[in-house]
Symmetry: C2
Subunit: 718 residues, 2 copies
């Protein structure tokens, strides 16, 4: 009975808020000018279209996330959690920047970031579809993939000839279009202003994904360049970078229903995947992930039950499993709540019916059907492949042996051709991981986990799905037999010793080949199998890269026939979403209001982490001197606010703008109910959480004062 009720309310809500879905390329904004204006945007959408011009070129990539210029002298606003590495890098026992925060008294006091920290300013965004696809046409599978990859690498290399730039090729609409992105790479970044982490990360894990929220999750950095104005490594006499444009922080209040828009670099979404992939995600991928991780947790817990030492060793792995499980369950609950399978299925059915009436239907339909076959082929072995991945990655010592073998193989190639993760620059990291194994591995537990996974694999992989190498290394069909196989592999291995692992890491493929260590031998035997299965996956990927554009063409055409534009799924390129400051009804009888206030900080304060609001903050709240940053209706200081903007991972640090394009908020999280939004945007539940710029202004005016920075950002002193 449930679906019907839910579908009903979904339909009701969708009518009201549907326009808010979408992570639009700036160039698409003129196409949806009518919707933008209807939503309340007061500017000219054409002004937003070019991401190399103001205001979009004020939005920058910071680490894996987003930031924006907020002064003419290169001040960059991003999240406290995005800049956390910079803060940590500068923290010392006698200078607790994490606990106390930081205010640079002047520019000389600004602290250089870790040398690998980057701010990227986009200066070019050009369609290069022809150049990317010209060699790929006529090819299939892995060859198609390689042709695209090779063309991309050539373009990137050409582009990066000019020093100071980083280039990349972005794939839009699943291989339909390709863009060459050129970004100025600023390398001298300095810490300017950070609140204490008990403000910047108030509530920590407990409040993560939670609304109502009370975090001041912001930090100000400054980008520096050489005296010639060009990107440079840190030098004390570098000068502040003068960005091509910067955003102006608003001084007006924020109210429920106000227009809001956000620009940033969302990571990955799956909204335009085929209906069958939605079915797979909801009916198999997520439930099976939940089941597998629950069982792995259970197995480790049982195997470690008798030993406090074993429990400690596996604590981190089990915690990771629990996070994965929780997230998968959250996504599953969300997709079910949104009735995603039915909704996407009906939409695709309607699309195909429309397609069949179009002139070029046949060729497109053929490609779509072929894509479906590739997906089905992958699905045939999905259960086995999921278990093989777990076997390969979750048994710590076996994984270490596999890593050593793979590294030896990759080392035989020129560095540039080695697989990502096995290049020269990765070796220090690998060595670190090999050392780590010491603290994260206990033989009886690993064997038990492996026995469980192998038994599941044997049950899942019947007949032709069996992998010969696995059969050779781990013969046996029942638990007892498998345990004997596993015992044989682990008996007498010296690989449990750190020195042995590090030594093996330095060995070449030939030396490893001749090793008599049973675990290394097993890894050598298994490696080709895992490589082969990886290759099969890449071939499918290449084939889908070739075939998916047909599906996207049908979808875009169908949406056009409905008068609607289609945004490409997120891929870490600059996108804009628009909507409104918005409350939310998480469940019957409960409404989340869109603005939180400092009162909530006091309510949550316990004095113990993560709810240990600093005394200075509590005193300032009690004093109630909120000046120009007080909300005129609530008569107090706001902290965070909620919008219905479309975001995903990577949108951290995105500036939230008002109808006039002024900066009103800083995106830093979304709500738990929206964890399924990477697959489906449900307007009832998708919300984004932002720091209210008035809270930042108040902190900078009254609590940890930085009048010089307020002045630089052309903001009132109080």
């Amino acid at each position: 009975m449930r679906p019907r009720v839910l579908a009903l309310s979904l339909a009701l809500c969708a009518t009201a808020a549907q326009a808010d879905e979408g992570m639009w390329m700036p160039s698409q904004l003129p196409d949806i000018a009518r919707q933008l204006r209807a939503a309340g945007f007061k500017g000219d959408p054409a002004d937003l279209a070019d991401l190399t011009r103001a205001p979009m070129n004020a939005v920058v990539k910071v680490g894996g996330a987003t930031g924006s210029f907020v002064s003419a002298d290169g001040l960059v606003l991003t999240n406290h959690h995005v800049a956390f590495g910079v803060i940590q890098y500068n923290a010392k026992p006698e200078r607790d920047l994490i606990g106390n925060g930081f205010v640079a008294a002047d520019r000389a006091a600004e602290l250089p970031a870790n040398p690998d920290f980057r701010v990227l300013v986009t200066t070019g965004f050009d369609k290069v579809t022809e150049r990317i696809l010209q060699d790929a046409r006529g090819k299939r599978g892995r060859a198609y993939y390689d042709a695209v990859d090779s063309a991309s690498k050539t373009l990137v290399a050409e582009c990066e000839r000019e020093p100071g730039y980083r280039c990349s090729v972005a794939n839009m609409y699943y291989g339909s279009d390709f863009y060459l992105i050129r970004q100025l790479e600023l390398r001298d970044i300095r810490l300017v202003y950070a609140p204490p982490d008990s403000i910047g990360n108030y509530g920590e894990e407990i409040d993560n994904f939670v609304w109502p929220r009370h975090s001041g999750d912001f930090t100000l950095l400054r980008a520096y360049v050489g005296k010639d104005g060009k990107p440079a490594d840190y030098a004390s006499d570098n000068v502040p970078y003068q960005p091509p444009s910067h955003l102006q922080i608003a001084t007006d209040p924020v109210r429920e229903g106000d227009y809001a828009m956000l620009a940033g670099y969302p990571g990955t979404t799956f909204r335009h995947r085929m209906a069958s992939e939605f079915v797979q995600q909801v009916q198999w991928q997520l439930p099976s992930r939940v089941a597998l991780y629950a069982k792995m947790i259970e197995t480790i817990d049982a195997a470690a039950a008798g030993s406090a030492d074993a429990k400690v060793s596996y604590a981190a792995q089990v915690k990771g499993f629990k996070n994965t499980l929780k997230r998968a369950q959250g996504e599953l609950d969300g997709l079910r709540r949104s009735d995603a399978v039915r909704v996407r299925g009906e939409d695709e059915k309607a699309m195909l019916a429309w397609l069949d009436k179009q002139a070029d239907a046949r060729a497109i339909r053929a490609d779509i059907d072929a894509a479906q076959k590739v997906i089905d082929a992958g699905a045939a072995t999905r259960e086995r492949d999921q278990l093989l991945t777990a076997i390969r990655t979750q048994a710590q010592l076996l994984n270490a042996a596999l890593t050593v073998q793979r590294l030896a193989q990759e080392r035989a190639k020129p560095d540039a051709q080695r697989e990502t993760g096995y290049q020269q620059r990765d070796e220090a990291l690998i060595a670190g991981r090999l050392k780590q194994v010491q603290r994260r591995y206990r033989e009886p537990v690993e064997k038990q986990l492996l026995a469980y996974l192998l038994l599941q694999y044997k049950r899942a992989a019947q007949g032709a799905q069996r992998v010969a190498e696995i059969e050779r290394v781990f013969p046996g069909e029942d638990e007892a037999a498998l345990k004997r196989s596993i015992d044989a592999v682990y008996a007498g291995t010296g690989f449990g010793e750190e020195a042995a692992r590090l030594q093996a890491m330095q060995a070449d493929a030939k030396t490893l080949q001749s090793s008599t260590d049973p675990l290394l031998k097993a890894a050598a035997a298994l490696s080709p199998a895992f490589a082969r299965i990886e290759e099969e996956g890449k071939a499918r990927e290449g084939e889908l890269l070739r075939l998916r554009p047909a599906y996207m063409r049908a979808l875009i055409g169908y949406r056009q026939s409905q008068g609607r534009a289609v945004y490409p799924d997120a891929n870490s390129t600059l996108r804009v979403s628009y909507g409104a400051v918005s409350s939310m009804d998480p469940r019957d009888g409960v409404r989340y209001r869109p603005l939180t206030t400092v009162q909530g900080i006091v309510e949550k304060h316990t004095g113990a982490r993560p709810f240990d609001a600093p005394q200075a903050l509590r005193e300032a709240i009690a004093k109630g001197d909120f000046g120009s940053t007080a909300d005129p209706e609530l008569k107090t200081q706001t902290v965070d606010f909620l919008t219905n903007l479309d975001t995903t991972g990577g949108n951290s640090g995105s500036p939230v703008l008002d109808a006039q394009g002024r900066l009103i908020g800083l995106n830093f999280d979304s709500n738990w109910e929206a964890v399924s939004a990477s697959w489906m945007f449900d307007p009832r539940y998708k919300r984004a959480i932002h720091v209210d710029m008035r809270y930042m202004r108040w902190l900078m005016a009254k609590v940890y004062p930085a009048p010089h920075l307020l002045k630089e950002m052309q903001l009132p002193a109080e």
Copy 2:
């Protein structure tokens, strides 16, 4: 810093909602007619003043709670949880009235309640202060108490001379006024309509105290009388009782802000206690209760750690401790949140300042000061007394021995003069408890708990506070010495055997005196000490009964000077509160909406208890056929609603009336945030939770149809 912010918002909110505080005697309603009308009441407050006339005489006492007549043929509406004993009494393996609910097809099918189930209709409410106090005047302490008690017993006995009536004396304003209440005692009560408990108690413990709520916590009973119209025991040819009046269930929608009022029998409140008692409650009583119960739980857990059997034996006791602890912590949090100590303290200070300017100030002030001294005297030994109570009641086997000794002493008196709980009618219960000990007691755990409590007692009771009998039975100042004392008491006792306990229970005081069982001997030695301390408490109680009226006189006078009336603290007599259908902001950023809908039932449904909504209900919700009971704005079926009405335990089953006096809701719970309302009404957090009568009507019309009952209540068939 916190108090200031809270006080500020309290002040803001209080202005808006202050008028809603109060559990008024019906006779007071004409005095507050202006406020009632300002709140939206459309009737004449004078019509509500007499609880022996309509509509107040339609409100009846049902079990320990409240109900109301809703038809001319004696239908009584109360909560499912109030009538649960009746449902259970009639349930059989082949007739699962709990799981399936019950609809009596006609009157012949109505099922008789358990014989001790009663419905009481108030027929007299007369002030008898003079008669109660005439002998007490001039007396003090225990003598004052006994004089009041004796006068009350005399009046009750006189009143109960007429068969079919139950009488009682109610003490208003802490001994200021006394009323003789006369109630018709209806003894033939039958079950007419009950929903399945997965509706009536949807959410059970998990949703207890929770809003948003989705319970259909109602049941219909019918009162029968003999053919002569007089109360009678069950007989198949009894006839439905024709109540003097009944309430009419409303058919109009309920909306936020609508006027609402409620009549019922609230149990006990402490709102007019002295400021020093608020200090004691917040600064000592609740924190020390939390600490003591936490320590007792810890002690039992540690002592039972090695033994699954011991864990099971103490599971119920530990669960009870946890409930007590949780409730105390909730009350403490609430009183702190409401800044109760400061608010009450400032109020009392202002009252005393006002008093000092009045003509009769001196005598009143003298009594208030004397009352304060009595309270202080009790406070001097409070820590010791709390521990002695725990020693007396929480060690199961020792408690059994003390019970047996006390019973033997009480048995020496005429039955009517025995202490409550030790009369003839209690002996079966005592025997049952003595048997129970078998399953709830393990010697090592009891000894450990006793060692902990005795050590705390030794630390708390210094010098004169030491109790000689305890010192004799349990000598020793440190844990080791106390353990030896305890070992001596328990060594060789046969009282761990059920037969020995039951045999001892039958023995007279003399036989017990000569027993050589060390535990019985210890209990015999300790009994007089506990009796003495109990006497001291009663003497203080008597003295306060004499002195508190002065405090109340000052308070009432002071309030009068502010133009405000004072309701007496709740004491299980009929009271009326008024207010409105009301949302609530439980914390910053969250608003609880005042109406829940069937959508929430679907959201909460998991298929497993306690969220296992019956299939018939889920199907009816999916069908969406809500007829005349649908909410015109929400376009769906409502379930429960929230008001700011003033309630406490005992208000279960209270009818909630609209501005015209029609029945719109059935009270059944309050919210967790209001757990401190027994001491302080905080308009921000005090809410009451009601079944929306439209939900009951819909269930009776569409889900478990009872058209004949709807017709009897003059309600639409659908």
